[in-house]
C-alpha cells in the first residue's frame, strides 16, 4: 500500500517535471510556431541564476520564483529583439538561429561559471510515507506546477491580454486589423515563454544540479511533450505530460529508468502516428 503511494507520488512528480520544463516552449511554439532550440539553455540559465543568487546570500525561494524568471525573461526579450523578430514565419531558420544561440549560451555560461557541476541544497526536508522516505522537495515542485498551470489557464481564458494572445495565435491578420500590433504581442509572448523556462530551471536546480550543457537533458523531453500535446498551450502540455509522466514512471518502477525513457519515446512515435496534430488537435479544440 505504501509502495503504491510512492509510485503515485513519483508519477505526479514526473508529470510536474514534464509540464514545468515544457510550459515555456509550449507558449513560444504554440503561439508563434518558433522552434526554440535554445529552450534547454533558457532552463539552464534559470538554474544558474538561482545558484548565483543563493551563493550571494539571497533567499532561495525569492531567487528561484522571482529573480530567475525575471533574468531569463530579459534574456528572452533581448533575443527576441535581436534575432527572432526577423525570422517569424520561417520555421527552419528559427531552428538554425536558436541552435546557434544555444551554443553561444553554453559557451558564455562555461566562461562565467566554469565547466564543473554546481548545485544548491533542496530547501525542503524529506518526509516519511509509511516505511518509505520521500523527497519533500518533489511535493513542492508538484504544487508549483499546479499553481502555474492554473495561472496560465486563467490568464489565457479570462484576461484581455490572454484573449488577444489567443487571437494572435489563430490569425495575426485579424488581430492587426483590430488595431493590435502582432509583433508586439509576439515580443511579450516570447519574453513570457523565456521567463517560464527560467522559472522551471530555478525550481529544478536543487534536484538535478547543473552543468553548462544541462540544457540538452531538458530539450528533448520538452519537445516531445509539446509536439505530442498539440497546439493548445495549457491542455496540450498538461495532457501529454500526464500520459508520458505516467508511462515513464510505471515502466521505470517495473523495469528500469532507462527502459522508462525508451517507453516514453516509443509512445510518442505511436501517438504522433495516430494523431498528427497532437492530442489537443484531436480532442480539445478550444485553443487553450
Amino acid at each position: 500500500m505504501d509502495y503504491a503511494g510512492v509510485v503515485c507520488l513519483e508519477i505526479l512528480y514526473m508529470i510536474a517535471f514534464l509540464a514545468l520544463t515544457s510550459a515555456g516552449l509550449a507558449i513560444v511554439f504554440g503561439m508563434m510556431r518558433v522552434i526554440n532550440l535554445a529552450h534547454g539553455e533558457f532552463v539552464m540559465l534559470g538554474g544558474y541564476t538561482t545558484i548565483a543568487c543563493y551563493n550571494n546570500g539571497i533567499n532561495i525561494y525569492f531567487a528561484m520564483l522571482v529573480v530567475a524568471p525575471v533574468v531569463v525573461g530579459l534574456v528572452g526579450l533581448i533575443v527576441e529583439r535581436t534575432i527572432i523578430r526577423f525570422l517569424y514565419g520561417r520555421m527552419i531558420d528559427t531552428m538554425l538561429a536558436t541552435w546557434g544561440l544555444s551554443l553561444l549560451l553554453i559557451g558564455l555560461v562555461t566562461l562565467i561559471f566554469g565547466n564543473t557541476a554546481v548545485s544548491v541544497p533542496a530547501p525542503v526536508s524529506g518526509y516519511q510515507l509509511g516505511e518509505y522516505q520521500m523527497g519533500g522537495y518533489n511535493l513542492f515542485i508538484i504544487l508549483i506546477t499546479v499553481a502555474l498551470t492554473l495561472v496560465m489557464w486563467a490568464v489565457l481564458r479570462f484576461t484581455r491580454a490572454g484573449l488577444i494572445a489567443r487571437g494572435a495565435m489563430q490569425g495575426p491578420d485579424v488581430v492587426s486589423s483590430l488595431g493590435y500590433d502582432p509583433r508586439k504581442i509576439y515580443m511579450y509572448t516570447f519574453t513570457a515563454g523565456a521567463a517560464l523556462s527560467g522559472l522551471a530551471g530555478g525550481v529544478l536546480a536543487p534536484l538535478t544540479g547543473l552543468l553548462p550543457s544541462s540544457g540538452g537533458a531538458y530539450i528533448a523531453k520538452a519537445f516531445i511533450t509539446v509536439i505530442t500535446g498539440g497546439a493548445a498551450v495549457v491542455s496540450g502540455t498538461l495532457s501529454s505530460a500526464v500520459v508520458f509522466g505516467t508511462v515513464n514512471q510505471l515502466v521505470s518502477f517495473a523495469a528500469h529508468p532507462v527502459i522508462g525513457e525508451l517507453a516514453m519515446l516509443a509512445l510518442a512515435i505511436i501517438l504522433l502516428r495516430l494523431m498528427p496534430k497532437g492530442i489537443t488537435g484531436r480532442f480539445f479544440r478550444d485553443g487553450t
Binding site: 548545485s119 533542496a122 522516505q133 520521500m134 523527497g135 550543457s213 514512471q249 532507462v258 525513457e261
Partner: protein, 407 residues
C-alpha cells in the same frame, strides 16, 4: 608593396641569420623531452585541468633541482579537448615528430587504449597515471593509478564490518562501472555477504526517484555507488533530499576523485565512505610540501584531486628510474622499473610492481566530512592483485592486452 617569392625567402633567410638563434645555456639535443596528452578543456576538464598543472609542477621542480642527469626536461603538452580523435593525432605527433623520451597522459580508459598501441609501436615509454578498472598488461606501459583490488576492497571490508552484509550496487553503464560492479560483488561474496541488486545507469540518467524507492524496498544495510559524471551527481542530491542519507549509509568507488565533495553541500555529502590514494587532508610532509608548491605557483589548491597527484607521482617515479638507469633510453629505464623503483609522493609510497608494471600504493579509507575527505585509516602498500591474477610481464614480456575479469 609586392614581394616575389625569391625576394621574400632571401629576406627571411637574412633575418634569421642576423637575429641568430636564441642563446641557450644547454644545447637543444641534450634536452630530455617529456610529452603529455590531457583534456585541458571540454567535458572532462574537471579531471584534466589539475592534471595539466600537476605535470608542469613536477617538471619545473625537477628542472629547478638541476634537471635529470644534468639535462633539462622540455615539456611538450597537448590539449586533447575531451575528443578521442585528438588523442590519436597528438599521440602520433609526440611519437613521430617530437620524438619524446616518455609520455605521461590519457584520462579515460578509452583514451588510454586509443594511444597505448601508438607508443608501443614507436617504442616510446608510456605512463598512465589514473585510477581505472585494472587489467592492462603491456611492458611498455606503466600504471600508477589505483585498481579495484586496491581501492574497492578496503571499502567493502570496512562497510561490511560497520554496516552489515546486504549491499545494493549502483554503477555507470560502461566498462568502468560494469567491471567495478563485478569486483564489488566478488569481494562481498568472499566475505559471505549478499548483493541485493545491481543497477546500471547510462551516463546521462539524472532521475533516480524510482531507484531510491526500489532501494528502500530491498532494505540493504548499505548502498555503494560507482556512478560517474555530472548527471549522476543528481543521485547524491536526490538521496539527501529524500532524507535517505540519514537512513541507509552510502559508500562510493568514484566519489571525490573529481572533487565531487565540493559540488555537494556539506549536509548532502557528509558520511559517504570512500577509499583512494589521496586526500588533501593527509598530514604527510610530502603532501604539505606539494600543496605549498602548488599554492605558490598556481594559486588555488582547492582543485587538487587524486589523479592530479597520481600524474605528479608518475612523473617523479619516472625521473627516479631515469636516475637509476643513468639514461633516458627506454630499455634502460624499463630495466630500472623492473628492478623495483619507488618514491615517496604526496600520497605516500609509490612502488612499482615488476610483474604487472602497476604500482603498490597506500590507500586511505575516508569519509566525507564538511566538504573535506577525512581520513579514517590508511592501509599501507596495497598491491594491484587484480591485474596480477592475469599478468606476469617477467614471464611473458611480449604480452600486450587488457585482460577482462572472469570472476
Amino acid at each position: 608593396m609586392t614581394y616575389t617569392r625569391r625576394e621574400f625567402l632571401r629576406a627571411a633567410g637574412a633575418a634569421t641569420v642576423a637575429g641568430g638563434l636564441p642563446a641557450v645555456a644547454f644545447s637543444a639535443d641534450k634536452e630530455i623531452k617529456l610529452g603529455s596528452v590531457l583534456d585541458n578543456s571540454g567535458n572532462l576538464d574537471i579531471y584534466g585541468k589539475p592534471m595539466v598543472i600537476a605535470t608542469r609542477l613536477a617538471v619545473d621542480e625537477i628542472n629547478e633541482a638541476g634537471g635529470l642527469l644534468g639535462r633539462k626536461i622540455k615539456l611538450i603538452q597537448y590539449d586533447t579537448q575531451s575528443d578521442i580523435a585528438l588523442y590519436t593525432k597528438f599521440a602520433q605527433q609526440l611519437a613521430r615528430e617530437d620524438k619524446v623520451d616518455v609520455v605521461h597522459g590519457g584520462i579515460t580508459s578509452a583514451s588510454r587504449e586509443a594511444i597505448r598501441q601508438t607508443f608501443k609501436r614507436s617504442n616510446t615509454l608510456y605512463f598512465y597515471n589514473v585510477l581505472y578498472e585494472g587489467g592492462v598488461c603491456d611492458r611498455n606501459t606503466v600504471v600508477t593509478g589505483t585498481t579495484p583490488a586496491q581501492a574497492v576492497e578496503p571499502i567493502v571490508e570496512r562497510a561490511m564490518k560497520k554496516w552489515g552484509n546486504k549491499v545494493y550496487v549502483l554503477a555507470a553503464d560502461y566498462n568502468y562501472g560494469q567491471i567495478t560492479a563485478k569486483w564489488i560483488s566478488y569481494y562481498v561474496d568472499q566475505r559471505k555477504g549478499t548483493v541485493a541488486k545491481t543497477d546500471f545507469f547510462p551516463l546521462d540518467v539524472a532521475d533516480f526517484g524510482s531507484t531510491i524507492a526500489k532501494i528502500q524496498q530491498e532494505k540493504p544495510n548499505w548502498v555503494v555507488s560507482a556512478l560517474v559524471g555530472g548527471a549522476h551527481m543528481s543521485f547524491y542530491r536526490q538521496w539527501a533530499a529524500s532524507g535517505m542519507n540519514k537512513k541507509i549509509p552510502l559508500a562510493s568507488t568514484t566519489f571525490g576523485v573529481g572533487n565531487e565533495h565540493l559540488a555537494l553541500s556539506a549536509a548532502e555529502g557528509d558520511g559517504i565512505l570512500i577509499a583512494g590514494n589521496y586526500s588533501q587532508e593527509s598530514t604527510l610532509p610530502a603532501n604539505k610540501q606539494f600543496l605549498a608548491a602548488w599554492q605558490k605557483r598556481f594559486g588555488d589548491t582547492k582543485i587538487v584531486h587524486e589523479i592530479a597527484v597520481s600524474q605528479y607521482q608518475g612523473i617523479k617515479l619516472w625521473a627516479e628510474c631515469v636516475r637509476k638507469a643513468g639514461s633516458v633510453d627506454r630499455e634502460a629505464v624499463l630495466k630500472a622499473i623492473e628492478s623495483g623503483a619507488s618514491i615517496e609522493g604526496p600520497a605516500g609510497t609509490v612502488a612499482i610492481d615488476a610483474k604487472t608494471h602497476h604500482a603498490s600504493l597506500d590507500i586511505n579509507v575516508m569519509e566525507v566530512k564538511n566538504q573535506k575527505l577525512a581520513i579514517l585509516e590508511t592501509v599501507k602498500q596495497r598491491a594491484p592483485s587484480d591485474t596480477a591474477r592475469y599478468c606476469d610481464l617477467q614471464k611473458n614480456p611480449n604480452e600486450n592486452k587488457q585482460y577482462e575479469v572472469d570472476i
